[in-house]
């Protein structure tokens, strides 16, 4: 039975639940918008990283380097798209 529940995965699951609780706490306690956004972003990123490494086995094959490069490049493009769009569409008009 024990072999069906590898320690790492169970721990990972528990940790992801904790991250969710932290994210939810933002809504529970009336935090400032800035604080709330920071907490949400940090937990979201940790959550994504956790899923990639723990459950999707990003690092187990021979293509580890390519896969990580791809994911990092993807994250770079994602951040640029989101924050760049905010910059050109909203923040840039002060």
């Amino acid at each position: 039975m024990k072999e069906l529940f590898p320690r790492g995965q169970v721990m990972g699951f528990a940790f992801s639940l904790v991250l969710t609780l932290v994210a939810l706490s933002v809504i529970m306690f009336d935090l400032s918008l800035k604080m709330a956004m920071i907490i949400l972003l940090v937990t979201a990123f940790m959550q994504a990283a956790l899923q990639l490494v723990m459950f999707m086995h990003a690092g187990e094959s021979e293509d580890k380097a390519s896969i990580y490069t791809n994911v990092y490049y993807g994250l770079f493009v994602a951040l640029v798209t989101i924050f760049g769009t905010m910059l050109t569409m909203i923040w840039g008009y002060q």
Binding site: I90, W91, Y93, Q94
Partner: protein
């Protein structure tokens, strides 16, 4: 090397056209401080880039003249050369310096053209609402309480702030000899700072494609001395009819309408999309010049009207 001669001839013609004063190109023939700044930036960049082109061309001509097969021995074996750290660092470093120089110029002048022109800061700017609709321009002078269609009168030596917005597709408000263009859009107001030094008649147009009547969406710009300008305003006030909502809606219908003049402005019944009328909020405020007592209801009417084509 026909192509190079062709290119050189063309370049030469350009140079003569650029420097020859008979019929200078509009953008390089500024009649106001903003356009002058921009013409200066353009000339700085042309000279800098001419230097780059020169370096490339010299190297290029040298390489293809000297190393063509017809000039080599038959048994000549070109060597294997990996590259050169020194040379490669040089052609990274020099472009970086050039780009850095142009960056400084850009940032400085962009800030300049986005503000009241230098030397005009002590004067109250003349605010003109310039709105586009298919395919015409409406100019509202809140200060004088008059409105013109498809032509503009401006005084010299006074900073002018255009408030740009659109009753239809994105349009771009452009008077090349007074300064660069900016978009007029339906859900927000853009501010364009210009000023004119020299009285005269200039071309203005929408330069952003907006449908089948776009080519003719032009307007005349008449720059007058302040006295003549005041005279013109008085004359309008004495002769023109007031603009009504019906008349304005009539004007908004797609088509070309020629020039016309009215007393009063459409801002009273159809306010510009700024402040609380803005389509979307960009955080902090655009300054509230518009003191009409519109309510949200009126605004939604206005945006519906945009929609009912």
């Amino acid at each position: 090397m026909k192509i190079k001669w062709a290119l050189l001839t063309i370049l030469f013609t350009i140079a003569t056209v650029l420097t020859g004063c008979d019929n200078p190109l509009m953008v390089l023939d500024p009649k106001g401080p903003v356009a002058a700044t921009q013409a200066d930036v353009i000339m700085i960049s042309i000279w800098t880039m001419a230097f780059v082109v020169l370096v490339v061309m010299v190297l290029y001509i040298f390489m293809i003249m000297k190393y063509r097969a017809s000039k080599q021995r038959d048994d000549y074996e070109p060597p294997h050369i990996e590259g050169s750290k020194v040379l490669e660092i040089i052609w990274v470093a020099i472009p970086i310096l050039i780009v850095a120089f142009l960056s400084v110029v850009t940032v400085k002048t962009t800030n300049e053209v986005e503000a009241t022109p230098k030397g005009y800061g002590d004067q109250e700017p003349l605010i003109i609402y310039a709105s586009s609709s298919n395919w015409k321009w409406h100019f509202s002078y809140p200060e004088e309480d008059i409105e013109t269609v498809n032509y503009l009168f401006l005084p010299t030596n006074r900073p002018i702030e255009f408030k740009l917005y659109s009753f239809g597709p994105i349009s771009s408000f452009w008077i090349p000899q007074l300064g660069g263009q900016k978009y007029a859009m339906s859900d927000m107001v853009n501010t364009l700072h210009l000023a004119a030094d020299v009285p005269g008649e200039y071309m203005g147009r929408n330069s952003n494609f907006s449908g089948s009547g776009f080519a003719q969406q032009t307007f005349n710009v008449n720059v007058l001395s302040p006295e003549d300008y005041d005279k013109w305003v008085d004359e309008i006030k004495a002769t023109a009819k007031p603009i009504t909502e019906e008349k304005f809606n009539e004007l908004l219908k797609p088509g070309h309408v020629g020039q016309s003049t009215y007393t009063g402005t459409h801002l009273e019944f159809s306010p510009a999309p700024e402040g609380e009328n803005a389509g979307h909020d960009h955080g902090s405020s655009d300054t509230e010049e518009n003191d009409s007592k519109d309510s949200h209801e009126e605004h939604s009417e206005h945006s519906n009207m945009n929609h009912d084509h």
